[in-house]
Symmetry: C2
Subunit: 201 residues, 2 copies
DNA sequence: GTCTATACTTGGATAGAC
DNA sequence: GTCTATCCAAGTATAGAC
């Protein structure tokens, strides 16, 4: 395994375990069994490494989200897909890393714009997915996809913060079950023809 | 102004501006124009001070939320009230402080349980407010107040993270306008008699 | 209760040997 | 490209004068 990769993996691991405030060059090196000087040789500094790590997890998860979500055409399917991938995220720690980086940006303002650039694709992705399934509905949804997408990303970040704080995923799980149930309900009410309610009709 | 109070205010100010990672004893002292040693004399350590600061902002905001929300009986009123107080929060920075403390807890595990104890009252408060207005509706809402409350608190935290990151409150504003509109719609649809739709009926 | 001084630790960063 | 050694800045914490 290449050194650059090992450093990035160690950085991700440290961000997940110790948060932004606990992710020092020395801590990362210890986690990865690496020499601390390598971080500066390969990345120039800790913040640059953290951005590279964010890129890595973001790309990885985005590919996975596309796999799961791109085929989806109905609201209940989208909810089910979102719940499934988010469960993976809680384990993979991707959103934890994102949340820590966003919170940490306050102490290193130069990170702000860089992180913004890495968050926007996620809001765009959510917007497109939402637009796709709501376009399929026989009614006009009174929530612009753009706003719904912002809310969903915010909600995911907040759930991650609370779930990790409480060390308990049960509330998040219940929320996703609830969402799936609601989406199915909505689909049944407004447009059985395009939803999974096809069997019912 | 008493020293303890000045230290707490400086700690809040620093948390808002520089985040958890940037909130050192020295930084707090500089912000408050205080001697750094006073923090240890009065609070024993930085983390203890931060918890005291969280108590302070939490108590202050909780009193305000109670003022605004306790009289509310309908869903649209609750949405309007929530939007109004949350706008204050974005300015007062209360939720910013909370989000930073939660994110920072990963680097100081002993903070975790203490912060949990300070977050729970907010979920309970939201649950009670939601339960009150949904009990007034003529239909049974398919979302347990407990789950809705968890989602709302998570959403607030996430919106704060994104809003502060982007340095732009417009998306949050639009979301609250949207929420108010939706709540009014729901009230009109399911139960004009108990909502502000009284005039319409 | 407050300030100065200081001890000690941790973190970012680099020079230079290998 | 990697490791050792090291410098310097920043952080926590305390002792002791005032």
């Amino acid at each position: 395994m290449e050194t650059r990769t090992r450093i990035v993996e160690a950085a991700l691991e440290t961000l997940k375990r110790d948060g932004f405030a606990g992710t020092s060059a020395r801590a990362i090196a210890a986690v990865g069994g690496l020499n601390q000087a390598l971080i500066f040789y390969h990345f120039g500094g800790v913040n640059e490494l953290l951005l590279a790590a964010l890129d890595e997890t973001s790309d990885r998860r985005m590919a996975r989200y596309r796999d799961v979500v791109d085929g989806v055409q109905t609201l209940p399917e989208l909810m089910a897909a979102a719940a499934a991938v988010y469960r993976e995220d809680l384990e993979s720690g991707h959103i934890k890393v994102l949340a820590e980086m966003i919170a940490g940006a306050s102490s290193a303002p130069e990170l702000g714009p860089e992180i913004v650039r890495r968050v926007e694709p996620w809001i765009d992705f959510a917007r497109d997915a939402i637009a796709r399934v709501t376009d399929g509905l026989p009614i006009t949804v009174p929530v612009p996809a753009e706003d719904a997408a912002f809310a969903i990303v915010a909600l995911f970040l907040g759930i991650e913060l609370l779930t990790h704080l409480e060390g308990d995923t049960s509330r998040a799980e219940r929320l996703f079950d609830l969402g799936s149930g609601l989406a199915t309900m909505v689909a049944l009410l407004v447009g059985p023809a395009t939803g999974p309610a096809k069997e019912v009709n």
